[in-house]
Each structure stands twice: as C-alpha cells, then as structure tokens.
Symmetry: C2
Subunit: 406 residues, 2 copies
C-alpha cells in the first residue's frame, strides 16, 4: 500500500538536519535547521506534484487537488521542529508519513473527491517559543497574531523577526479555510502501546495542561560571610517546593504528571546565596475537573511552603488548556480500518499535547499513535520499530482515502 523504504530514506535525510553526536536532533523552531528542513519538505511536496503555500505563521501546506474543488478539505500532518537534543520521530514522522500516504494514493491512481492537504505547523514543541503549538493555535483562534508575533525566545529574539529571517512568513490568506477532518499520526512518546504490544494507538483525546512560571524571592547574600542562620535562600526553598510537587504528583492519582523542567537562579553565581529562583511547572491531567483542582493544589502547596518563611513567591500561568476529546466518528473509522487490516491497536489518551488538540476546535480531528521504544521521547534515544511505523502509515493511508471520498 505504501513505500516504507521511500519514507525511511526521507526520514534518514531529514534526520541529518540538526543531527546531534548521539543520534538525536536539535531543530528548534525558526532556526537555521528548521529553515533547511522546511525547504526540503517543500521540495519533496513539489516533486510529488502538490500545490504548496505558506501562511503568515509559517505553517506550510501542500495540496493534492480533489475532484470537487469546492468541498472542505481533509488535512493531515504534524510538525518539523524538535526540542534540543530530541529524537528523530517526534513530529517529522507525522509530516513525512502523511506525504508518503498521499504520494502512494497518487501512485495508485486514486483521485479523491475532496482535496487532501498536508501541513507542517510552526513551533509545536514550545521549546524555543512558549507556549507550545503556536502555529496550530494561531490558525484555530487560540492566539492573536500579535501574541504569536511577540513571543520571545530566551535570548530575546522575537517570533516575527525569526520567521522573517528564515524567509517563511507567508500570507494570511493561506491559512486553512474549510476543513472536513484533520488527522495527525505521531509517536506515542509514552510506554503504553509497547507494554501491550500494539502497533497502532487510536487516540481518544489529549490531557489538559497548565504551564506555570514560579518565582521565589529571598535575599541575595555573600556565600562565604553570611551564616546559615541568617539566610533567605530562594533556591533552598525552591528545592523544597520541587520535591513536594514531585511527591504530590506521584501520590495523587496515576494520571497526574507534574514536571519542573527549567530552573534559574539570580545572581546565579557560585559565591552568592541566590536571591531569586525561577522555575517552570508543566502539570497535566486528562480530566477537566482534576486539571483545575490540581492547579489550585499546586498553588496552595507553594503558598504553604513559602508562608512558613520570610521568602515570597509568585505563580504566573503561561498557558492552560482543558482536555480535548477527538471526534468519535474518526475514532470509529480508525478502529474499523485497523480491524480490517488486522493491525493490533489500542485506544488511549495522549499525555502530550499535539496540533490536533487545537485543530479539534475547527474540525473533526483524530490521531494515530505508533509505539515508542521504552516509552522514550524528547531525548536522543527516541525510537520506533519500522514494522510499527508501516502499520501506522498504512492505517493513515486508508483513513485519509476514506475521509477524502465521503
């Protein structure tokens, strides 16, 4: 049905762009590497005969025209950006896998009723510009253009300037219009499919998330001449909070995850008691009520910890989004397809956010997962068996074909 060797060759070529010494890849959004990856993707789509365009957020599209040009289109894709020292599958597999499915359709002489559009969304990871999924969020009304354009990376570079610098600022008129369905294939990034030995995951929804920035303020002092008893060390306090958040998440329920991924101290030198410590919290839960309850519990935990001291703290929400449930219709279609192909499959909920989460706001969205070896992702060890990938892309091929002809 599909040409797995061709997909594998493209994945290998793409993996060279931003390759790290240990077999991973660093391809931050709107970086020089991202630019090269985008150009290669556009070149491949044009070779396949797709009609390419770029919108004002740098999202890239490639259209296979359907027989009925007036009908809402079927869309499929994911993202090309990665986290620092990320893996070779997160995002890119969904983009190049969709390209493979469409190229196979063309080769097999299929002429779909509806147009099929490939898409690669900008800054899905949120690793360079927070929050994550800026490109898909922008075209689905989650963020204003001004908000997106003024996002700053940690070096002070603005989204808009960087988008222009890599020459991928396209036209507002190129954003998606009427979309009848959106399908995203992605690696699971967790252990469930592997544990249950399933090749395909049918994703019923995505956990809600809350991203927060915490600042603990104490007193900067000399590390050599300030007795321990006279200190208000913001890092020691932050360390207590980080431990408590981790314990809290471990003991709350199996679906709660909370992570402190980034931390900085000020003045940040070896011989000063840190006056200020800032850190991030990424908290997720698949249940809406538990998400909002958990956010309050975290804030309370921080408050309680700081209250007992002469330090102070602030918690700023960067971005919160409630859990999303995908289209039942699409899940059913995916399940039927897996059955008829005898692919071992499993229904699950994604802990990770995806562009499909925002696309669900404007259309019927659905996701297919393939297993992650040892559940690893956002690291260089990220990997997936090629037999599983083949099952996933063949499923995608059939699902797109059906959606484009109904």
């Amino acid at each position: 049905m599909i040409n797995i060797d061709r997909l594998r060759a493209r994945m290998t070529e793409m993996a060279k762009i931003g390759a790290t010494p240990n077999g991973g890849v660093t391809r931050l959004a709107l970086s020089e590497e991202d630019k090269r990856a985008r150009k290669l993707f556009v070149k491949w789509m044009e070779e396949v005969g797709l009609d390419t365009r770029v919108d004002d957020f740098g999202n890239i599209y490639g259209k296979l025209h359907g027989l009925e040009r007036g009908l809402p289109v079927v869309m499929a894709g994911s993202h090309l950006d990665t986290v620092p020292k990320g893996g070779n599958f997160d995002g890119v597999l969904g983009v190049l896998g969709a390209l493979e499915a469409v190229e196979s359709l063309i080769e097999q002489g299929v002429k779909p009723l509806r147009s099929i559009e490939l898409v690669s969304f900008t800054n899905e990871e949120g690793a360079r510009f927070t929050p994550q999924m800026l490109g898909s969020g922008a075209v689905t009304g989650q963020f204003t253009k001004d908000y997106v354009y003024t996002r700053e990376d940690n070096k002070g570079f603005l989204f808009k300037d960087e988008l222009e610098a890599i020459d991928f600022k396209g036209e507002e008129s190129n954003r998606p219009r009427e979309v009848s369905a959106f399908i995203e294939l992605h690696i699971e990034q967790g252990p469930m499919l592997e544990i249950e030995q399933k090749s395909v995951g049918i994703v019923e929804g995505i956990a809600g998330f809350s991203w927060m920035q915490v600042e603990v303020a104490g007193q900067s002092d000399h590390s050599g001449s300030t007795p321990m008893s006279m200190r208000n060390d913001s890092l020691v306090k932050a360390a207590a909070i980080i431990q408590k958040i981790s314990l809290w998440a471990e003991n709350r329920d199996e679906q709660t995850v909370a992570t402190v991924g980034n931390i900085t101290t000020s003045p940040g030198i070896i011989n000063a008691v840190p006056g200020e410590t800032k850190f991030t919290i990424d908290f997720r839960h698949p249940n809406r009520e538990e998400l909002y309850k958990g956010m309050e519990e975290i804030k309370q935990l921080i408050k309680t910890e700081v209250e007992e001291s002469s330090l102070s703290s602030t918690v700023k929400e960067i971005r919160t989004h409630q859990p999303v449930h995908f289209s039942n219709e699409i899940c059913t279609l995916m399940e039927g397809t897996c059955r008829s192909l005898s692919h071992p499959y499993k229904h699950l909920i994604s802990g990770a956010g995806h562009d499909a989460m925002y696309m669900q706001h404007i259309t019927n969205a659905g996701m297919l997962f393939v297993p992650s070896i040892n559940g690893k992702s956002h690291c260089e060890e990220e990997n997936t068996e090629w037999e599983d990938i083949e099952c996933g892309i063949v499923t995608l091929f059939h699902v797109l074909n059906k959606l484009a002809n109904q």
Copy 2:
C-alpha cells in the same frame, strides 16, 4: 588625616560605571565597564602623581616612590570588579580608600622610606571567570599563566582574549617583586561588626573554601506522557541534595557555610523531564581539618542520596584552598593603631575570600574590615556608614605610614 569627601566623590563617580536601576552595580571582570573603571582609576593615580603600570594579568599598580628605592615595597589595594547586581563597596572601597590614604600622605608632606604601591587585582570575584582571585593568585604562584589565560566565562570567552580586548594586557616584568607587607581594606560582607557596634575589624585570617561542580544524570523524557513512576528526574534528585546540603551545613557547626548558587538543567525546557542537572557548591570553613572533613561529608551525602536511585552523579572540585592566617605582627600594629585612635574594633575571621589570602603566600598580609549594614553584600543593598569608612581609612593611613617607615 584624610579627605572623606574626596573619597566619597570618587566612590560616587565610580559607582556610575555599571550602575543598575536599583542602586547597585554590575562590573564584571574584563568587561567594557571594568575597562572604564580601570581607566578612571589609572587617571586618578596619575593625577596624584603615582607611577602606574599593568602586569600580564591586568593587575594595575601605582607607586609612590619612597626615599629608599631598593627596599621591598608596602602594598595596599583590592579589586574593581563586581558580581552581577553587586554593591558599591565590595572591592572598590579598598582600592579608592588606599588611594585616599596615599594622597593624604602626599598632601601632608610625608616622605616614606619604602615605596607604597596601590594595586587593583583582576577578577577577584570569580563571578565571570572561576575561580575567584585569579589576578592575585597568578602573581603569587597559585595558578600558571596558561591556566589563567584559558579560563572561560559562561559564554565561552577566554580570559586572555578579553584582557586583550579591553587593552589591559601589560608586561610580565610589571608583576610585584619584593613586597614587605600587603594591606587590604574591605567591607565585612557579614553581620559581626554591626552586631557588636565596632567600626573596624582586624582580620586574623580567612576561612578555607572548596568550590565544587556537581552533575546529576538521570533520564530525559516527555513531561506529558511519562508517568511519574517511570521517571529518573535529575532535578528532583538535585533538589533533594540541595536541601540536604543546606540542612547539613545548618546543623554542623556555626562556622560551616555551604551554598548552591548556580543550577542548570538539560534540556532545560518546560516540557521535558530534566535528564541532567548541574549545580555548584561553595563550602567554607575556617578550620583546616574541618574543611577537608566537610568536603568528604558533602561528597558522601551526595553519594548516599544518589545510591538509592537509578541516577548517577559526579562531583568535580573547581578549587580548594585551606584557611589562611594573617601576619600577627600586622594584626598587632593594627590593634595598636585602633587603640591610639580610639576606634572601636574587633578581631575576626573572614568568611569571604580576598586577594590578601593569596598575598599572604609571598609577604606579611593583613586586612581591615568596615561594617556592612545588615551584613549584606553581593547584592544591591550592600552599604556602609561613612563614619565607619572614615575610621577604616584613617586606620589604613596610619598603618601604611608605619609600615612604609620601618
């Protein structure tokens, strides 16, 4: 005896170089601000009639020639660099205070037997290039030239290149030769003088220190899709260690101080479990045996904490130096001077390192402290009463006069 208004005016002018919005100063070693501060200091020394020179580490000297040019010289000074968002007294007071003392000697027609040399040492703080006190360490045989020249700041800039860039790379032949005594006046940077309402501290010695770099290695993973139970979070482990180190220091003895001032995670993004966490430890103790025992205790504490887990850790020593005892003779001279001037004084041990610590290796060194309001230093609130400063500089004036004539 001295002109406190002139000193105050110079301190005010110097404080403008690198001034921060909240009344502090950021003047990192070998920065553009350091260059301007150095030039101003050289200009002032030349106006006073001193013979200036710069050595191959950027240490700056200004000589008041004595009647007997062949005799070992008396030296006084400190440093002009600061920590980020530091205060207006740390270092610069010892430099400009010594200039004031020497200018007053000249004005009063004193012709000392020995030459008196002012000095401002390079990179005392260790805030830009670790370890601290590179300039004084280099000229006292603590570090090789190659070691100093290849020190890197956190942006990858080399000491040597930066020294050349600010045009302060002088001649090796300009290093100090025979020195009969070295005196450094400094702010206490701790609370003791203020608590006991003394204007002058006679410093008997400096605590030993050990600077270490710790790395905790776990496993980077996706923050949304990795269950809490499957994580090896290096930051959660580091947080436990940081808390334990702080508790250990609090409970060990009153003289133990241990500080974690800097911490970074990798990949360092909001949505990845930190695979690696690096942090610094600054541990000090005035007793030699306790210093080395404490270092082992810290290493053991880290080992024990990590042993229970599937994470690993390494501890690298950046620099360790045993406690230093200053010259009894100089302490006695200082005490006699304070008594005859009726300055309230107190003997103490410095928790902070100072250039005098290394100068003690090549001559008889001694230090005078003036109180720090609320014990604050390495922060923008750093402050000292001008009456106390006057007591300190008048003491310095007499001590230098006596040392230069014996």
